[in-house]
């Protein structure tokens, strides 16, 4: 490989993607360990240390998966994509590389701090304040790189990915910066602190991570299928609705309690409207993929992106269901919410990220993928594992919610309602981890060129027809 030919920002993208994969493996491993402790509580006697406690493992794994795996990975693939869709190359590769390293440093510091010192207890913000500052600084560097050329190339390609990217780039620093300032920078009354935590939770999930995922879907699906989104107006409406309603979705995590009731009601309405938004975007995806089933079946990237796109719609339909006025009071403090995040993180964003890496890394690194059965393992283990874990948690949450609502069920037996489902969840999460290990091994092998390259676009094994899909025009 001639390194001088690699575009600026390519190393920064690789640092972010490799960091993301490492974070996914460690985060999923810790999540597995934490859930096993729920099933076998006496396991904590094995290592009687604070860092081995469920209360440390659970937030540490959530932080790693959310900021380390998804945040880092999505920024990494966008760093490969942005100069190509804007047609303007990055100029300050070293600065971007520094930003990528700073992001990894923030993840490592946040993870070790949560494990050793504990979580902050704030929803969506378990990390200490200095880690948030590092994340914002790093994001400003990476985000400046990502926005370069966005305005000047506005009309030269599809509009929707640019709009979603713009939204995500604004939401992260605005949301995290203001939440940090209000929660840990000033003396904010406790009653307002909870509102602020849920506001940041909404920004983080629905206005930062989700738009990054949707931007990749609307950029890569048309490229890989060779079709354009059929209705720009529908897409625009969905984008505006996402920007308007996304920030309200966190308030449905509370029921009664300290959040003003009008905010909770607005959250319910926003959740239901977001389901329609997701269905609208789903219709656009349907038009992009219709009749291309054979290609989707064969091409790894396209299959992951399609599953990710459908899981996006499923996430918001499930969110609307959990927010319904007669469902929310029953399900509010149950593991049905982790089920939602299993769909959101592992099926929607995880699949979009994997599909994007398969589609874009060969472009950014001038490499190809081997014709390996590890690709099949990656797809089936991660999608089936995440779907099974989400189903198990949703069923467990339903029983837990019904038990919580029945005063006749003793409090001491509440956890026993979860146990049968925890078996399924732990097995499913292990299955997901196996798939991710397969992905990590095929990625490392491809980067090190340990296997002969079959095609620039990864395809599943035993092809009847191998189509190295037309990604040539992505080479900017």
């Amino acid at each position: 490989m001639n390194r001088s030919r690699l575009p600026q920002g390519s190393t920064a993208a690789l640092v972010l993607i490799l960091g993301s994969i490492l974070a996914s493996l460690v985060g999923a491993g810790l999540q597995l360990l934490a859930n096993t402790q729920l099933l076998v509580p006496s396991l904590d006697r094995l290592i009687p240390m604070a860092w081995f406690n469920y209360g440390r493992l659970a937030p540490a794994s959530q932080f790693l998966l959310s900021y380390g795996w998804l945040g880092s990975g999505l920024l990494g693939v966008l760093l490969i994509l942005a100069p190509r869709f804007s047609g303007i190359a990055f100029r300050y590769g070293r600065l971007l590389f520094g930003g990528a390293l700073l992001w990894q440093l923030a993840i490592l510091s946040g993870f070790t701090q949560i494990l050793l010192e504990g979580s902050s207890g704030l929803i969506g913000m378990p990390q200490p304040r200095f880690v948030s500052i590092l994340l914002i600084l790093s994001f400003l560097v990476l985000g400046t790189g990502l926005t370069r050329g966005l305005g000047r190339s506005w009309k030269s390609g599809p509009l929707l990915p640019r709009l979603y990217l713009l939204l995500a780039l604004l939401a992260f620093p605005l949301g995290l910066g203001s939440a940090e300032a209000l929660l840990r920078g000033t003396v904010t009354p406790g009653s307002v602190q909870i509102i602020t935590q849920l506001l940041w939770h909404s920004f983080h999930q629905h206005l930062w991570l989700a738009p990054l995922g949707i931007a990749l879907i609307f950029q890569l699906l048309p490229t890989l299928t060779g079709r354009a989104a059929t209705s720009l107006n529908l897409g625009l409406l969905a984008w505006i609705a996402t920007a308007l309603f996304g920030g309200w979705l966190g308030t449905v995590r509370a029921s009664d309690g300290p959040i003003p009731s009008w905010m909770q009601s607005t959250g319910v309405v926003a959740s239901i409207l977001m389901a329609f938004v997701a269905i609208g975007n789903g219709l656009l995806v349907q038009n992009l993929t219709e009749g291309r089933w054979e290609e989707i079946r064969r091409t790894v990237a396209l299959r992951f992106l399609s599953v990710g796109a459908w899981s996006y719609a499923a996430t918001y339909i499930l969110l609307a269901f959990l927010s319904l006025p007669w469902v929310r009071p029953v399900m509010v403090f149950t593991v049905a919410w982790p089920a939602l995040f299993e769909v959101f993180h592992f099926l929607f964003l995880g699949c979009v990220l994997a599909g994007s890496v398969y589609a874009l890394l060969p472009v950014g690194r001038e490499m190809g993928w081997p014709n390996s059965s590890a690709l099949t393992w990656h797809f089936w283990c991660t999608t089936l594992g995440a779907a099974a874990a989400a189903s198990g948690l949703l069923l467990a949450g339903s029983f837990q919610g019904l038990a919580l609502s029945d005063a006749g069920v003793p409090t001491s037996t509440l956890a026993s309602y979860l146990r049968p489902f925890l078996f399924v969840v732990i097995f499913a999460q292990f299955f997901w981890l196996v798939g991710q290990i397969a992905f990590a091994s095929v990625l490392i092998a491809s980067l090190l060129r340990l296997f002969p390259t079959a095609a620039p676009m990864a395809v599943f094994r035993n092809p009847t027809v191998i189509r190295p899909a037309s990604i040539g025009h992505l080479h900017g």
Binding site: S42, G55, G121, L122
Partner: protein, 200 residues
């Protein structure tokens, strides 16, 4: 759509969301004040002690929120009050002096918004922290032995030593963090009426 218009719409939508929740939220619940409880002639909610304030951070750092909520809901929405988790629903005023203010998102264990009234005995709370299965055999709550110091048992037990001994030869003394955590849990006592939330 022009990029400047897109930028204005995105920024405007985010700002609107932020202002509507944080700023209006502040105007609605951030300016609440303590009220006088006519029975005790004290203002409620009470300001937590310095030790309890430290305990709130210990509570967060031990990850108790992964399984416990801090918000009792009213009878219309839940069975929380029938379960005895509180004598009234939690309202915004209850969180006035809490820093960090915590809500919790899961109930694998019981709600703790009124644990100070339900379990006021410090030694029971200490035992629960050391090993929850000493009090409830099937508890899924993890142990926290690092919050205690093991010392050889002398002829006379130290006044704050736990009533359990790990091996008969040692006594367990609560660390500063354990004392702070228990002080925080004891401060979670909402057995007083508020204008917007009378006792049931």
């Amino acid at each position: 759509m022009k990029p400047t218009r897109a930028l204005a719409i995105a920024f405007g939508a985010l700002l609107l969301t932020w202002v509507a929740q944080a700023a209006v939220g502040y105007l609605q619940v951030g300016r609440l004040e303590p009220v006088l409880n006519e029975e005790t002639n004290l203002t409620v909610p009470p300001v937590p002690s310095g030790l309890a304030h430290t305990g709130a951070r210990v509570f967060a750092s031990q990850g108790c929120l992964e399984c416990h909520s801090l918000s009792a809901r009213g009878p219309k929405d839940s069975a929380d009050l029938t379960r005895g988790w509180g004598q009234r629903r939690s309202v915004a005023r209850d969180y006035l002096f809490r820093d960090p203010a915590m809500l919790g998102t899961a109930r694998i264990g019981p709600d703790l918004s009124n644990i100070g009234a339900r379990m006021p005995e410090g030694d029971k709370l200490m035992q629960h922290l050391y090993d929850p299965r000493l009090l409830k055999k099937n508890s899924t709550c993890p142990t926290h032995p690092w919050l205690f110091v093991k010392k050889p048992a002398g002829p006379k037990a130290e006044p704050d030593a736990l009533q359990v001994s790990p091996d008969g030869w040692h006594q367990l003394l609560p660390s500063y963090h354990a004392k702070a955590l228990v002080a925080y849990l004891q401060s979670l006592n909402a057995n007083y009426a508020l204008p917007e939330a009378p006792l049931k």
